[in-house]
């Protein structure tokens, strides 16, 4: 980097300190998420408006409850469109459990309701011959080079899952009966079927990696972590998303 410094000082410290917006769906228990970020010395705040979805440096879409109640909560707050845009722009967004399912096209849990359509695929119930809900710790296997995910034990609590790794996403799989999608990531977007906030030390490390890497553009290795650039595409400098 031979060019002179920008007149404005790099704001990497802002990105390092940025608070984490948590989407209020009204059906999610967010205390564990808040506590997990507090242990990483990060503040959190509630996100309830389209503007806040668009402007958050880091956004979490938590999920407890049903597919229908989750989608309805997003629609009622008018945040479907900004959320879809944000994910398509690969900005720092963490979806947890039902949050991952809401990002998919649809779910057998509520067949008449459309999902956000960011992740191709339809969510379905575990086969009848495995214990459901899956409650507890299961090992995830990271199948590709991943920015955030590592193989290891994570905590799951769910009855529905995405069975096939979606095209265009880096993923981790897990076995409960058959294989299913434990998590996917793309750019700054990380969607986990498990609960990183409840997955002890390995979950904590995953959240820390997401915070460290998600908003940073990978422009030729120059970590010019300007908060405004968090909105930019992530795969290479200036590449289209």
């Amino acid at each position: 980097m031979m060019s002179p410094p920008e007149p404005r000082a790099p704001r990497s410290n802002d990105a390092e300190r940025a608070a984490i917006g948590i989407v209020s769906t009204g059906v999610a228990n967010v205390e564990a998420v808040r506590a997990a970020f507090a242990r990483l010395k990060r503040d959190t705040y509630a996100v309830e408006t389209p503007e806040a979805v668009a402007s958050a440096a880091f956004l979490v879409l938590p999920g407890v409850g049903s597919f229908e109640s989750g989608m309805r909560a997003l629609q009622d707050r008018g945040i479907v469109d900004p959320l879809v845009r944000r994910v398509s722009e690969r900005r720092a967004t963490l979806a947890i459990c039902l949050g991952l399912q809401l990002l998919c096209d649809a779910s057998d849990e509520a067949p008449d309701i459309e999902g956000l359509g960011c992740i191709p695929g339809r969510v379905s119930r575990f086969a009848a011959d495995v214990r459901s809900p899956q409650l507890g710790w299961n090992r995830i296997d990271v199948s590709h080079e991943s920015r955030f995910l590592r193989s290891g034990f994570m905590y799951f609590a769910h009855s529905y899952r995405l069975a096939e790794l979606p095209e265009g996403w880096i993923g981790a799989s897990c076995r409960h009966g058959a294989r299913f999608v434990a998590a996917v990531e793309r750019g700054g977007v990380l969607a986990c079927q498990f609960h990183p906030e409840l997955s002890g030390a390995s979950g904590r490390r995953l959240l820390a990696r997401w915070l460290d890497f998600a908003p940073l553009p990978t422009s030729g290795g120059a970590a010019s972590a300007v908060a405004d650039e968090a909105a930019a595409p992530l795969e290479g400098a200036g590449a289209p998303c």
Binding site: V64, L135, W137, H176
Partner: protein, 253 residues
Amino acid sequence: MLNVRVIPCLDVRDGRVVKGVRFRDLEDQGDPVALATRYEREGADEIVILDVTATADGRLARRRTVSAVRRALAIPLTVGGGVRELADAAELLDAGADRVSVNTAAVERPELLTEIADSLGAQCAVIAIDAAGDANRPSGYEVRTHSGTRSVGLDAAAWASEAVDRGAGEILLTSFDRDGTRAGYDLDLLRAVRDAVPVPIIVSGGASSPGHMAAAISEGADAVLAASIFHQEEWSVGRLKDRLSRLGAPVRR
């Protein structure tokens, strides 16, 4: 594969962890935050907090204890005690519980389980069943409520099955006869309920050794719960899981 969970249980009264025999003669065991933190560090898979006098006192489990443990804990937290309606369950989740266990109120009004499952998800709705031997019941066990003091005329396995039909996503199955006795889990009770329901079962009451836990796991328990062997430091969670692993149980280490 999904691992078997080892769950230390904190019976709490007035903000302190207590332990009794057959739900009585409660003795102080320590501070809930300190114990929960230690258990997570040792490798516990989940923590259960039961406010043992909440129902008798006609109140909800204490929010302050739940919040304090939540802030310290990075593993799942199930809380029970005095949940009478959906709003109570929501309040405990708001305080930091991940899942809520319901006992007496669900026996009196089973729709409560449906309301919790529909609103908060089936994985949030844990039905706690305290069962005692009763030769007159088809399964050989009857349901007790109000901390084991009341018989309500229900068969334990039949009630487990109904609770799951109503929406419960997990069963916390406690043997009243074995609680605090160190004689091992009641495996006959476990088998009777295992045969009746497809959802996960946490077995509870009477464990004092890894052998007791391994026996329950081979009978189909998805999680093993214990209290005093951890509180009194006979076993650390880590050492116990090492032993369970050598006994062939799949545990996270």
